[in-house]
């Protein structure tokens, strides 16, 4: 996995795992690889993996079962909620940046619609 050295590694690991959960690569109830295996797969430190997983356990996205390992939550609603959180986070960033360019809410909606339409035509 390629990392952006400017962003804390544990944060990037969390985002990678969120991504796999939302796209269904990791399904509810799936067992995650062992910590050291994840570290080898992602070429990062074991402690960094542990920090990322620790936070995800606190968030209720991952469940730790004593002696068995870590599992993706069976709570489908939590996954749906996670997806919404990530969408909101991305939209928030775009919204802030466009707002800073002095666009009104209507302008933002219009330019987004225009962008999607144009993009769709380019990709046909």
């Amino acid at each position: 996995m390629k990392f952006d050295d400017k962003v804390p590694i544990y944060y990037q690991i969390k985002n990678q795992l969120y991504h796999e959960m939302i796209t269904g690569e990791l399904e509810p109830g799936d067992k995650l690889p062992a910590v050291r295996q994840l570290a080898v797969d992602m070429t990062v430190n074991v402690n960094t993996i542990q920090r990322a997983l620790g936070e995800m356990i606190t968030e209720g996205v991952i469940e730790s079962q004593r002696g068995k390992g870590n599992f993706v939550t069976m709570d489908h609603e939590r996954i749906t909620q996670l997806k919404e959180e990530l969408i909101t986070e991305q939209l928030e960033r775009v919204y802030q940046q466009l707002h800073a360019l002095d666009l009104s809410d209507e302008d933002i909606i219009a330019s987004l619609e225009h962008f999607i339409k144009q993009r769709g035509e380019q990709h046909v």
Binding site: F3, D5, K6, A39, T43, N45, N47, T48
Partner: protein, 236 residues
């Protein structure tokens, strides 16, 4: 968490020239620590002081043990095979390690040899730079100790060897052991570091968690390191 290494007020001079002064450093167990600094900054000297091969004033304790003999038992240092003649076969070097270090784990060594694709029947003179470094890593990691010191394990070797070596470090570093990796080029090891220690102006100028640096300054480890040398990042 208990500490593996404690250095207090360490000073070291060579031929009346100050090489290191007022070094204070404490490393917790279970960490991978990047020891960064320019060539000649004193990284290798610091490692040699920790193992006891060089003598300075001040206190150095490994697992609370100060005596050189005790420290040596708890530290595995990647000496560059300098003591062996070019014609020595790798398996003869391994015999020597088995004899000298009671903590040398033959099975670990076999696993590392397989993973790093080392042919132990070769003579040292027949090894490429990358292969030689792999042998050094396999020997160093096969000892069961609390503190591993790797002195510039990546300098001048190909990227495939580098990747293998990095993977072997992640796979075989014991959970409770701490590993110090010195380098003057940090980008490729940055993701595996817990802590960053920077040697500058003959002392330890910075000791900080890698993710804290990214969090606090919003820059990469390489950029942080460079800015420190250019005096860009303020630090009290």
């Amino acid at each position: 968490m208990s500490d593996v290494l404690t250095i207090e007020n360490l000073n070291y001079k060579r031929n009346l020239k100050v090489i290191l002064h007022d070094v204070n450093l404490t490393l917790a167990q279970g960490k991978i620590v990047g020891l960064l600094g320019e060539n000649g900054a004193g990284k290798t000297t610091l490692m040699r002081l920790i193992t006891g091969s060089a003598k300075g004033s001040g206190h150095i304790a490994v697992r609370d043990l100060e005596k050189t003999v005790d420290r040596k038992r708890h530290v595995s240092f990647s000496e560059q095979l300098k003591g062996f003649a070019d014609g020595t076969r790798i398996d003869r070097v391994v015999d020597y390690y088995r004899l000298v270090y009671p903590d040398f784990d033959g099975q670990r060594f076999e696993e590392l040899v397989t993973f790093l694709q080392i042919d132990t029947s070769l003579k040292l003179s027949a090894l490429s730079k990358g292969m030689k470094e792999k042998v050094v890593i396999a020997l160093t990691l096969s000892r069961q100790v609390d503190l591993y010191l790797l002195d510039e394990p990546f300098s001048g070797i190909d990227s495939m060897s580098r990747k293998r070596i990095i993977s072997s470090i992640i796979k075989w570093k014991p959970d409770d052991a701490t590993m110090v990796i010195s380098d003057h080029y940090v980008t490729e090891i940055a993701p595996i570091l817990d802590d960053v220690v920077i040697v500058k102006d003959q002392t330890v100028a910075i000791h900080q968690a890698a993710d804290d640096i990214r969090d606090e300054y919003g820059i990469g480890i390489e950029a942080f390191y460079e800015s420190l040398y250019e005096g860009g990042v303020k630090h009290d």
